[in-house]
């Protein structure tokens, strides 16, 4: 329980008998270098006892950088053909994802993965669905901007054009001058600003948060309360991969003392009886080339999960009901077609995934709890909205 303890809220949750066994009330002292502008931002926004994200010292979160990043995030000039912005795949009303099974890039090319929600992306220990080493938001932004296989924003080789477009705009001249007073407009400045803005996409106002961090006992319905017990209990074991303040084990906070890299094969596919995933996306193995990394992906946050359908890395589950079917069965059975196979029999499947003798009431309660993770205020927060409107 040691690492969960360091990542979960310290005080109020200890009041819950139901979850107290996995929590400690005294987390370790912060050891990471402080980032004054980030600290100030999070102190201003987050409840006092809500764990703070870790932000590298080299990435200040000034209001000026956040403002610039927000303009860039919503600007279609960041795509080669001017048709897409970051927002195209990360829309506020959908908790900063796009509602598609597979993302579509600016040239119409389909991605092989589903757009990830950006909710609480500041807490991610690693970024994207499956990269062991990509952990900095500025560096990650290079992928959608300049990646070519597949094309997303389609800016590869056009960095001079991009800087020209921005430099010609009076709004940006002022925004860059304020955010980076001593620097010329550069790709580095663009991605730093995008990172600063993305760290403000914070979910902390859900009914669950009102209970967990504000002690509002009435915040959850009876069903959601029962669902929470199931979620954090040994029968369902959801919290093993979806624990921590951010409902993902791949979480890093300002209090984290270790970088733990966690990826899981959940038995979605088993093409060959040996656990093979479709060639179109084999998860972490695509990067590391290690056979044991077949089908391993980072557990995404479940905050706002009711808004982020369809689910899984390839959008292959249409609804939360389908997701529960998969986990309750202990792996997905695909009866026919090119991806046929029984994920429950995959030797690579995580040990936490096993058949569960679920009752209809439990399913309903779990669903109710998952809906209690929706932060309605985030969806309408003007601080996160398109500044060009």
């Amino acid at each position: 329980m040691s690492r969960l303890a360091s990542l979960l809220p310290t005080k109020p949750v200890c009041l819950f008998a139901t979850a107290a066994w996995l929590l400690a009330c005294d987390g370790p002292a912060p050891t990471e270098p402080v980032n004054p502008t980030a600290d100030a931002y999070f102190d201003r926004v987050l409840p006092p006892n809500f764990p703070r994200p870790y932000v590298p010292e080299s990435e200040p979160m000034t209001d000026e950088r956040i403002a610039l990043g927000k303009h860039l995030f919503y600007d279609t000039r960041l795509s080669g053909n001017g048709t897409q912005s970051c927002e195209s795949c990360h829309q506020q009303q959908l908790a900063f994802t796009d509602g598609l099974a597979l993302a579509i890039g600016s040239t119409g090319e389909s991605h092989f993965r589903s757009s990830m929600a950006l909710t609480n992306v500041a807490y991610n220990a690693t970024l994207t669905w499956a990269s062991p080493f990509l952990s900095e938001l500025p560096e990650q932004a290079l992928l959608p901007m300049f990646g070519e296989a597949p094309v997303e924003l389609g800016m590869a080789g056009q960095e001079a054009e991009l800087l020209q477009r921005l430099g010609d705009d009076a709004t940006y001249q002022a925004l860059f001058a304020a955010a980076f007073p001593d620097e010329a407009i550069s790709v580095r400045a663009v991605v730093l600003a995008l990172g600063a803005f993305q760290r403000t996409i914070l979910s902390y106002r859900s009914p669950y948060d009102r209970l967990a961090y504000l002690g509002d006992e009435a915040a959850l319905s009876e069903g959601a309360r029962r669902g929470m017990d199931l979620f954090f209990g040994e029968k369902y074991e959801c919290f093993h991969c979806h624990g921590t303040v951010n409902f993902s084990d791949a979480t890093k906070t300002a209090n984290s003392t270790f970088d733990e890299v966690l990826f899981h094969n959940t038995g979605l596919y088993n093409l060959d009886g040996l656990g093979a995933y479709p060639a179109s996306d084999q998860g972490l193995m695509r990067v590391t080339a290690k056979p044991g990394d077949m089908g391993r992906f980072r557990a995404p946050t479940l905050r706002n999960v009711a808004l982020t359908a369809p689910y899984f890395h390839d959008g292959s589950a249409a609804t939360l009901d389908d997701v529960l079917d998969h986990y309750i069965r202990g792996g997905r059975l695909i009866e026919g077609g090119p991806n046929a196979g029984d994920g429950a029999l995959s030797p690579l499947r995580s040990g936490f995934i096993k058949p569960i003798d679920a009752t209809p009431q439990e399913r309903a309660d779990l669903l109710e709890f998952l809906h209690a993770l929706t932060d309605e205020a985030m969806l309408d927060d003007p601080a996160l909205a398109n500044p060009w409107d």
Partner: protein, 308 residues
């Protein structure tokens, strides 16, 4: 670029053969390496400034963006145009007759050479090379210890330490976004992309992208990439090479051989260094890079005299 001499291929074949132990293997070719052995007691002189010349070719012709090249594929009926033609080199060494080597101390030349890594650039943004740069670069400059050298060795690619830096912070020549390869946490060592002429005009153009880079990379959020199972750094050795008279030529015909550039047998179109991509073993072998247990002979780079 000037036209390559008709004879360069002949000279090249001899110079690249690992078995060509002496210039005698060049047969009747009056080769420029037929000079005296170095005098053992010659006084060491100071460092020499060196300009190592590179060229890109398709057989006997210079490879350029604005031209159609013919005769590719198993039936020699595929025509193509380049869309990109750039690569990085490092660890350049000159080899003497005794097998010893002296490194080239690379100059810092913005934006082409920095910290021992050089970019060679044979696309000028013309034709289909739209995402390239107008600038060209065909030399690597530096200094080496005075001496008599008979051969050349260099590594195609970016050294591990520089390959896995944060690309958003990198200095030129590692700041070109079209050479970023972020999902693998590195760079495209070589980017040689071609677009195949369709059989019927107006049909979609198949592309054959050759992206060389390290794969199988693992690491951590804090430490970045710590190791790659396939670094795919090709050590290129040209046993007969005189920096005064010769240039290093990459021949696209030799690189791709007779593979069918118009058909994607699997993975992305062309070869993006995927270990299971059916279009990868041939160009990898031609760079002398093993895929599996083989130890192929490098043929894609050759030494050729610079035309007068």
């Amino acid at each position: 670029m000037t036209q390559l001499p008709r004879t360069w291929r002949h000279a090249a074949l001899a110079t690249t053969s690992v078995l060509a132990l002496s210039v005698a293997a060049c047969g009747d070719n009056a080769h420029h390496h037929d000079h005296d052995e170095p005098t053992p007691d010659a006084p060491p002189a100071g460092p020499q400034a060196v300009s190592l010349r590179f060229a890109a070719a398709v057989g006997d012709e210079p490879a350029t963006c604005d031209q159609v090249f013919t005769g590719f594929g198993p039936n020699a009926d595929i025509s193509l145009q380049f869309q990109d033609l750039r690569f990085y080199v490092h660890d350049i060494e000159f080899i003497d007759a005794q097998g010893g080597s002296e490194p080239l101390a690379m100059d810092t030349v913005s934006p082409w050479q920095n910290e021992g890594v050089a970019l060679l650039d044979f696309e000028d943004q013309s034709g289909l090379c739209a995402n390239g740069t107008t600038d060209l670069r065909s030399i690597v400059t530096g200094t080496r210890a005075a001496g008599t050298y008979t051969g050349l060795r260099f590594t195609l690619g970016v050294p591990f330490e520089q390959n896995h830096q944060d690309a958003s912070l990198a200095a030129a020549p590692l700041n070109l976004t079209s050479l970023f390869w972020n999902w693998q946490g590195g760079y495209k060592f070589a980017r040689i992309d071609t677009s195949v002429e369709p059989v019927n005009p107006g049909d979609p153009r198949p592309v054959f992208n050759f992206h060389l880079g390290s794969t199988g990379c693992d690491g951590s959020p804090a430490g970045g990439v710590t190791a790659c199972t396939a670094d795919n750094l090709a050590v290129i050795e040209l046993t007969n090479f005189d920096v005064e008279a010769d240039q290093v030529v990459i021949d696209y015909r030799e690189l791709v051989g007779a593979i069918d550039l118009a058909v994607n047998g699997g993975g992305p179109p062309g070869c993006m260094s995927g270990t299971t991509d059916p279009e990868c073993p041939a160009p990898f072998a031609n760079l002398g890079l093993a895929m599996g247990d083989n130890s192929p002979a490098m043929t894609a780079f050759v030494a050729a005299p610079v035309s007068p």
